[in-house]
């Protein structure tokens, strides 16, 4: 780490904040200690410094005095965090929120925010406990690039290995949002190849997510509910149907929790009534209980479970 560089950048910020006029590069070179005299070396160093300040979020304004040479200044009203006052209960939930992110880049962003808020006089304590500790993480490699794309509102391209597909395919997407449920992450957007709304799971993105168009070119259509698109099945839900199943006494607790009714017979088997949608989708959830569950009715569900068990048998043939 270079102390001289930090010192130079700090002087640059103070200088550009203090000036009301735009300062030309040459005026800056003379005003800020630490810049070399040589024109080229100075130019390169100054370019890098400007870039660093922008990355820190320092608003550099470019303009000129009376149409002369371009110069720079930092407007204090754009630089300064607006006044913010928090009550103790607000401060406590803010402290809690700052601990939520475990994902590296957002955890860093949250603690950066906390640092600035502390600097504004807000006292958050690391140890405040509200009896609740929320955590969110993602180690999906695609997450940081998609966060940037949503922030910058630009289209992206990536290779995607869909379920049931034999190979990954290149997809081009205008991302509308990134959502998570039960630890799994999805990007929702407009698929420009397929000309429709699509949902992609981040874990099925293989390789890098790359920008695929200019920043600011993606607009989220009005009224779009990203989570609804991601989490609600697009096809109409099947009409609920009723199934009658036998459950081995004392077993299949998971199904009992789900059952509308369970009749204890006192014998080897109890009889339960369950509600389901599609036989094909429901059969695996019954097959999971093996010999502890027997479907009595309806016949199509019964057949689906038998079919499922037969394919298990075939798959594990000696």
């Amino acid at each position: 780490m270079s102390r001289r560089k930090t010192e130079r950048l700090l002087n640059l910020v103070v200088c550009l904040l203090a000036t009301r006029r735009y300062l030309t590069a040459e005026q800056i070179r003379r005003a800020v200690p630490g810049y070399p005299d040589s024109g080229d070396a100075f130019k390169r160093m100054f370019e890098r410094d400007k870039e660093e300040l922008r990355e820190l979020g320092v608003p550099l304004e470019v303009g000129s005095e009376d149409g002369g040479e371009a110069g720079y200044r930092i407007p204090p009203q754009d630089y300064e965090l607006p006044e913010i006052h928090l009550t103790p209960d607000e401060t406590a939930v803010l402290g809690l929120a700052a601990r939520v992110w475990q994902q590296a880049s957002l955890a860093e962003a949250a603690s950066g925010a906390l640092l600035k808020l502390r600097a504004a006089g807000i006292d958050t304590s690391e140890t405040d406990s509200l009896g609740i500790e929320p955590r969110v993480d993602t180690d999906e490699p695609a997450f940081p690039a998609l966060w940037e794309a949503v922030k910058g509102a630009y289209p992206v391209a990536f290779d995607y290995q869909g379920i049931g597909r034999t190979a990954a395919a290149r997809r081009h997407v205008e991302p509308w949002g990134v959502v998570s449920r039960r630890g799994r992450w999805y990007v929702v957007g407009f698929d420009t190849d397929r000309q429709g709304t699509r949902v992609f799971r981040l874990s099925r993105i293989t390789g890098e997510v790359v920008p695929d168009g200019p920043a600011g070119s993606v607009t989220v259509p009005d009224g779009v509910d990203i989570r609804k698109i991601a989490f609600e099945r697009s096809e109409a839900p099947a009409e609920p149907r009723t199934a009658t199943v036998r459950l081995r006494a004392g077993a299949a607790q998971g199904l009992r929790r789900w059952a509308a009714e369970v009749h204890r017979t006192g014998g080897e088997w109890d009889e339960a009534t369950l509600t389901f949608g599609e036989a094909e989708r429901f059969a695996p959830h019954l097959a999971r209980f093996g010999a502890d569950v027997v479907v009595l009715d309806p016949p199509d569900l019964r057949d689906a479970v038998i079919q499922q068990l037969k394919s298990v048998l075939a798959g594990h043939e000696r």
């Binding site: 990203i226 077993a251 059969a283 068990l309």
Partner: protein
């Protein structure tokens, strides 16, 4: 907090340090060092650097006046940098996404404070951060807003320091268990709620998924969490540590069975071509893996250990036999 010490990190710290001191009139060295996650020595180095800020600006200016004599930091004449830098979109966005998630839990205890702080932060951060934070979200499956909701009752018991009695469903063994638990924290990890507590049956810290609590009663007995009870490392993915007793199970999955790799932590995932996968799962529980194989049907099969594949076969055969005897 262990931060990489690059020039720009340090610059960010210096730009926050001045307003931090200014807004508090004076601050003890050790307190400031703790707030910024640096050592006192590093902090003194920062202060010396600030003290060196020297300008030859064409405009009139006042050099920063700073002292840390007697362990108390004071700063004056720092007008241009007396306010903190505004929040970056990432910074405000990260906080806003987290705050919205907390608000969704809907616990009446925090609801008002959350909606107030969201408004204040949005105002301070500007439209861009508000927009991003409305586009990135974490669905919460914990609902504490209904009266008598399980998460709220757990939090009450924690606040009141009461022991709990649980009827708890263990899906891996497919059974309901009874136990007394001294509650420690309510964890909400990736939208799922867990009660962390000292389980008196296991005599260890255990996690209980709140949606698997079948019945809960708050006992009029004070909770007694022993000294040695260490809160779990709640970084996600670490909640469930592999144990040396785990068995390793190999599955071969068809393209339709690839979801297994998304849903369960796999020790290894290997592409077999044509969209097929070979995955290795670790689990303490044979029953659960057998259930998974039965659920998969033609989407995948266990290839090892051989004994387990055989057990799955036998289970499927027994289940099919049930249909022969059941008639219809």
């Amino acid at each position: 907090m262990n931060k990489p010490n690059t020039s720009s990190d340090r610059l960010a710290r210096l730009l926050a340090l001045v307003p931090y001191v200014v807004s508090r009139a004076s601050v003890a060295l050790d307190e400031a060092a703790a707030a910024f996650g640096v050592t006192e020595k590093q902090l003194i180095d920062d202060l010396n650097l600030l003290w060196c800020v020297e300008l030859r600006a064409p405009d009139p200016y006042c050099p920063i006046d700073l002292s840390y004599e007697g362990g108390e930091i004071t700063v004056s004449e720092a007008e241009s940098i007396a306010r903190p830098l505004r929040l970056k979109v990432d910074e405000a966005g990260a906080l806003l996404v987290a705050l919205r998630m907390l608000a969704e839990i809907g616990d009446p205890r925090d609801r008002d404070a959350l909606s107030r702080v969201i408004v204040k932060l949005e105002n301070a951060a500007g439209a861009a951060a508000a927009a991003v934070s409305s586009q990135v979200s974490v669905q919460v499956d914990v609902k504490a807003d209904q009266a008598g909701a399980m998460p709220a009752r757990v939090r009450d018991a924690i606040a009141r320091g009461r022991r709990l009695h649980l009827t708890y469903y263990v899906p891996a063994r497919d059974e309901n268990t009874e136990r007394d638990v001294d509650p420690m924290r309510l964890l909400v990890v990736d939208g799922q709620a867990y009660l962390e507590g000292w389980c008196r049956r296991a005599e260890a810290v255990r996690l209980f998924r709140v949606d698997r609590i079948v019945e809960l009663s708050v006992l009029e007995v004070p909770a007694q969490v022993p000294e040695e009870a260490e809160p779990l490392d709640v970084r996600t993915g670490r909640l469930f540590r592999p144990s040396p007793d785990d068995i390793r199970v190999t599955f071969e999955l068809t393209p339709a069975g690839r979801w297994v790799a998304d849903y369960y932590p796999c020790e290894s995932v290997e592409e077999l071509g044509e969209g097929r996968l070979r995955v290795v799962l670790r689990t303490p529980d044979q029953r659960w893996v057998r259930g998974l194989a039965l659920r998969l049907g033609d989407q995948g099969r266990i290839t090892g250990p051989a004994g387990l594949a055989e057990a799955v076969r036998d289970e499927a055969a027994r289940a099919l036999a049930g249909y022969e005897t059941a008639g219809v």
